[in-house]
Amino acid sequence: MVAFLVRRILGAILVCIAVTFITFIIFIVVPGGDPAVRIAGKQANDQNIANIRHSWGFDRPFYVQYWNMTDRMFTGRLVSYTNQQNVVSQIVQGIPVTLSLTIGASLIWLFFGILVGVISAVRAGRWSDRLITVLALIGISMPVFWLGIIARYYLAEGGLMSFFPDGEYVAITQNPAQWFFHLILPWLVLAVLFIGFYGRVLRGNMLDSMNEDYVRTAKAKGLTPNRILRKHVLRTSLIPIVTLFGLDFAAVLGGGAILTETVFDLHGVGQYAAQSINNFDLPPIMGVTMYGAFFIVLFSILVDIFYAYLDPRIRPA
């Protein structure tokens, strides 16, 4: 177990380095990326640009630049090219918002995803299954930016049923009720996509499990259908869902909910990422990428550990 953990953590560090390095290289390679021109502004002459290039170190070899950037990132000195704000403190500011969004939405999508999957597997082929299948496909197909705007228009911005506040984030420490109220729409909008997807995956897994020999054995033992479903079908079918959930949770927490955060004007890590990409601002992009990669590798390790708990066959002897 210890050897496994050490191996995985070393691997994770390598992944993080590789991800940031690739991000850096992509930025250097794409045209129009010269940060000196951007920093110098519209009225700059060539001399200004050359001075900036030298003082910011853009004339150094790319590996030196990469090293300086990661060094500054880990010591918290990394600043944006466009507004000179500290990247690390910007990300830290966004974490409570993103974390609130992630936890609430993931609970909703996990609960309803499983519910939808179980119902459609148990009722496979009947009208309720077909209805759920259609709804799930609609849910998967609806783009978040569209659904989010529609939800805001009708439910928040003074449309027919404006029950909800329009955007903005209220800290949970400030007012828990308002925090919850403000987040309901973003949670639901973000969860819709995952509910449909998880429901489809779980339905397929369960239908496969139902044909397993051990389910036939369970029937032959005289167990109730309810117990067979819970203990024998669902238990094994949920194992792949754990992987999905771990990685999706990490992706959203790592700033992946760019669209949801932007549509609902939540100043989280995702929105920060979106702004930085818009501004072609390398330091925040690097910071957010590193932050996201960290959660992805962390959660994939957690998923592997949890897997061993769920499936005794892969437990180390």
């Binding site: 397993e212 020999d213 051990y214 036939r216 054995t217 369970a218 029937k219 032959a220 033992k221 005289g222 167990l223 109730t224 259908p225 117990r227 203990k231 024998h232 238990r235 094994t236 769920l310 499936d311 005794p312 066959r313």
Partner: protein, 342 residues
């Protein structure tokens, strides 16, 4: 006469599929008395497993149709509700399956799976159920059952898993044990041990056994009576001794000829039954074995009834051939091919 446990009358099981109606079992009748071992023999698709699964209600589905009766101690199992059926399953009729590798749930401990069977039929606390599980594992010959009860299925060998399956099937002391090809997935030395175990436990638990196999060699020692099935029908039924020494159906000869035997001269090659079993959707007219039977003649286009044609009462077959003709010619099939010079 011993107590009659199972009385199956003209059982038909049909499945509606996209290609048509599959007549998996078509008019099967047999009885099972307490303490009896009944062997059901046939090749893949002969309907033997469907028959067994139907006794347990495991073939119930929106696409399946049943006719006839399956009387268990006088109650028709085809008619009882799903909820009532649960009380019979495991409790009155236990079942073990072909592949012990996949028949146990990989994520639960062996003991948990046995306890689950016990606790679903009896009011017993966890510790009591566990004690019983250990005892059952001991009875089926698992070494160190006290510690092995906490193993997961993947920590057991194939033979041990099948023993664990047997322990599970016997957990509630059922009156009937159905073993559906219990040795097919195991290697030969383990096969003999498992069959011997079933024979011994039958005595200890005072139950009857239905042993389903495609291998006549497996049932030779243990069965009291053997049913040979082909294309969803019984084609021959006799006491074990009579089936081996006075087989009446050319299909049975083929099955007998396909197993190596120590009590006969060694053939150069074992007999093979040419062709493949018929499609259960589109059965041949008349005797279902006719297209593959080397002895078929005009009369075979009409299906023979399952009836007694020999001196021994209770020995039934479906074959038009003359008894004396059969006795003169069956040896060619059963004995296999011999080189004259040898």
């Amino acid at each position: 006469m011993a107590e009659l446990l199972l009385d199956v009358n003209d059982l038909k099981v049909h499945f509606a599929t996209e290609d048509g109606i599959v007549r998996a079992v078509d008019g099967v009748s047999f009885e099972l008395e307490r303490g009896q071992v009944l062997g059901i023999v046939g090749e893949s698709g002969s309907g033997k497993s469907v028959t067994a699964m139907t006794l347990m209600g495991l073939t119930r589905d929106v696409n399946s149709r049943f006719e006839g009766e399956v009387l268990y101690k006088g109650r028709d199992l085809l008619k009882v509700s799903d909820a009532e059926l649960q009380n019979f399953r495991g409790n009155e009729i236990g079942m073990i399956f072909q592949d012990p590798m996949t028949s146990l749930n990989p994520v639960y401990r062996i003991g948990e799976q046995i306890c689950e069977a016990i606790q679903s039929h009896e009011t017993i606390d966890k510790r009591g159920a566990r004690r019983r599980s250990v005892e059952l594992l001991r009875q089926v010959g698992i070494p160190n059952p006290d510690s092995r009860v906490d193993d997961f299925p993947h920590q057991f060998s194939g033979g041990m898993r099948q023993r664990a399956m047997i322990a599970m099937a016997l957990a509630c002391n059922p009156d009937v044990l159905i073993a559906d090809e219990p040795t097919t997935a195991l290697d030969v030395t383990i096969q003999a041990q498992i069959i011997e175990l079933v024979g011994r436990l039958k005595q200890d638990f005072d139950s009857s056994v239905i042993l389903i196999t495609h291998d006549l060699g497996v049932v030779a020692d243990i069965a009291d009576e053997i049913i040979v099935m082909y294309a969803g029908r019984i084609v021959e039924r006799a006491a074990t001794h009579d089936l081996f020494y006075d087989p009446q159906m050319p299909y049975t000869w083929g099955l007998l000829g396909s197993i190596p035997r120590l009590d006969r001269p060694r053939p150069d090659r074992l007999h093979t039954i040419t062709g493949a079993p018929p499609s259960l959707i589109n059965l041949p007219q008349g005797c279902k074995f006719r297209p593959r039977c080397p002895h078929a003649f005009e009369k075979c286009t009409e299906e023979p009834a399952l009836e007694n044609r020999v001196e021994t009462p209770g020995h039934l077959d479906r074959c038009w051939l003359d008894v004396e003709y059969k006795r003169a010619h069956r040896e060619e099939t059963i004995g296999g091919g011999h080189t004259e010079a040898a």
